[in-house]
């Protein structure tokens, strides 16, 4: 798709996301041109509602979309759009009904979370990191949870799990799995 299509207002068709470049998220609904694209306000609200991460945690970061619904967090300067290979960290997937944070986002920002955080024992954390699902008693919400375990004396965010039907399903991507089970 050409840049002309993206900015066109008189062709009749709504602009769509261009997966070959990074586009900065609009601040709010009023500034939105690509209907499918989330706004910065929606992303901040989601982190606040789902995990109780204060919006101020992201004050130093701008949010960008590359690939449909794949949101990146970036601390540097760049004009929008920008067609390069990487911009900060892939940190949230918004394409499906239930938004899903990346393992990297949770490891980097998850220590600010106070809700939907599940603390695992070392053995349970090892099962999770190996990519295995496990039965777990959990009284909180179903859906995506932040998994923490104790490291060097403090709880440390490790990754993302999906909790459904009494089961904690590991969402650790293949490349980040390690088997530390005894």
């Amino acid at each position: 798709m050409s840049e002309d299509t993206e900015t066109s207002t008189d062709s009749g068709a709504a602009p769509e996301n261009d997966g070959s470049r990074f586009d900065r998220l609009p601040a709010t609904d009023d500034e939105r041109e690509v209907p499918s694209r989330p706004t910065r306000a929606e992303v901040l609200d989601w982190w606040a509602e789902r995990f109780d991460v204060p919006p101020a945690v992201f004050d130093g970061h701008t949010f960008w979309e590359k690939g449909s619904g794949k949101i990146w967090a970036y601390a540097g300067d760049a004009p929008s759009p920008i067609a390069i290979e990487g911009l900060g960290m892939a940190f949230l997937r918004t394409r499906r009904e239930h938004w899903k944070p990346t393992l990297e986002a949770v490891q980097r920002f998850g220590d600010h979370a106070d809700r939907n955080v599940v603390a695992l024992s070392e053995g349970e954390a090892a099962t999770f990191l190996a990519g295995e699902d496990q039965e777990l008693d959990w009284d909180g919400d179903w859906g995506y949870l932040i998994v923490v375990h104790e490291l060097a004396g403090e709880p440390e965010p490790l990754g993302v799990a999906l909790y459904v039907h009494g089961e904690l399903r590991s969402q650790v991507p293949k490349g980040r799995r390690r088997d530390f089970r005894d």
Partner: protein, 313 residues
């Protein structure tokens, strides 16, 4: 190993040099201060009964009995496996938070992520590589380390374009914009002679024509780094090889062609000065400000590092 004989006239204690080149290197990790502190990383290793020893710089640990990737702190992105001399150039470049920095030959990202940590993951760190497969490794390392200030470009560093980063400029495609960077790291592809302790086969395919060919690439990348760095800015040039064709000769070329000068710097590692003569050639006398680190000096890999100031005239 015969290749190394060509450096007998340069090396202070050639027998010690040869002997060191035949010993394997220990695993070394760098603590990623974007995600943790040196104290907490040390505690995590100690809690896991993993033996570690300090190296020349705070936050570098040798792991005599362990591989870097097989422990909890690694899984959290707290540690990165990195040879200890390879941590030298980012420290010499010494970027500050908020600056604009270019890493000209970035993949697989050991030095990129070290630069990001020195910048406290703020400012803009442009990381370039010419190989898409290696960019994938760079991206994965940067994400594992929690880096968010990096912008990754796929291009030949000799023709690095500033255009994507300069808002509102359009028309010309030659990337001819004002210098963008406060600092640049030019850790170029090289014949890697200094990595022989890690990769014993590295000299098997050594040829003089490869050294001479790659020297041309190195000159082009260093020149582009100087052109894209503002007057008063800093460029660090480094290789992991001993060949003067890839080291002092490249500096000599840049001094002749671009507005720059070599500057003094200090490192807490034993080293010798850059050489001003090699075979039939003599180089600008200021290349002696560069540093050669031989494997027997500090029981590390081999390395070459130079610091340049961009003068603008």
């Amino acid at each position: 190993m015969e290749v190394l004989e060509r450096y007998e006239s340069l090396v202070d204690d050639f027998e010690a040099f040869r002997a060191a080149c035949e010993r394997p290197l220990p695993s070394v990790v760098r603590v990623n201060t974007i995600k943790t502190t040196v104290d907490r990383a040390g505690r995590a290793l100690a809690d896991a009964d993993i033996e570690f020893e300090p190296c020349w710089h705070e936050g570098l640990f040798a792991l005599p009995e362990d591989q870097p990737g097989t422990n909890w702190p690694y899984a959290h992105g707290w540690l990165h496996g990195q040879e200890e001399v390879s941590a030298v150039p980012a420290e010499v470049l010494d970027p500050e938070p908020g600056e604009r920095v270019w890493d000209a030959c970035a993949a697989p990202g050991s030095k990129t992520t070290q630069l990001a940590a020195l910048m406290a993951d703020s400012g803009t760190l442009v990381a370039t590589d010419s190989n898409l497969g290696r960019i994938s490794a760079l991206r994965s390392n940067a994400e594992r380390m929690g880096v968010t200030n990096v912008a990754i470009t796929h291009e030949d560093a000799r023709n690095h374009s500033l255009k994507p980063f300069v808002e509102g400029r359009s028309g010309s495609d030659d990337g001819a914009a004002e210098p963008l960077y406060d600092r640049a790291l030019v850790d170029v592809p090289c014949s890697c002679e200094g990595t022989i302790r890690k990769n014993p086969d590295t000299l098997d395919e050594w040829t003089l024509s490869h050294v001479e060919g790659i020297s041309g690439v190195q000159k082009g990348i260093l020149r582009r780094a100087i052109q894209t760095t503002r007057p008063g800015g800093t460029v660090v040039y480094s290789t992991c090889t001993f060949a003067p064709e890839e080291n002092e000769a490249v500096l000599d070329h840049a001094l002749a062609e671009e507005p720059c000068e070599l500057v003094d710097f200090a490192i807490p590692l034993e080293h010798t000065s850059g050489v001003t003569e090699w075979q039939d050639e003599s180089f600008d006398p200021t290349v002696s400000k560069a540093k050669r680190i031989y494997p027997h000096h500090n029981d590390t890999g081999g390395f070459f590092c130079a610091k340049l100031a961009v003068t603008g005239e």
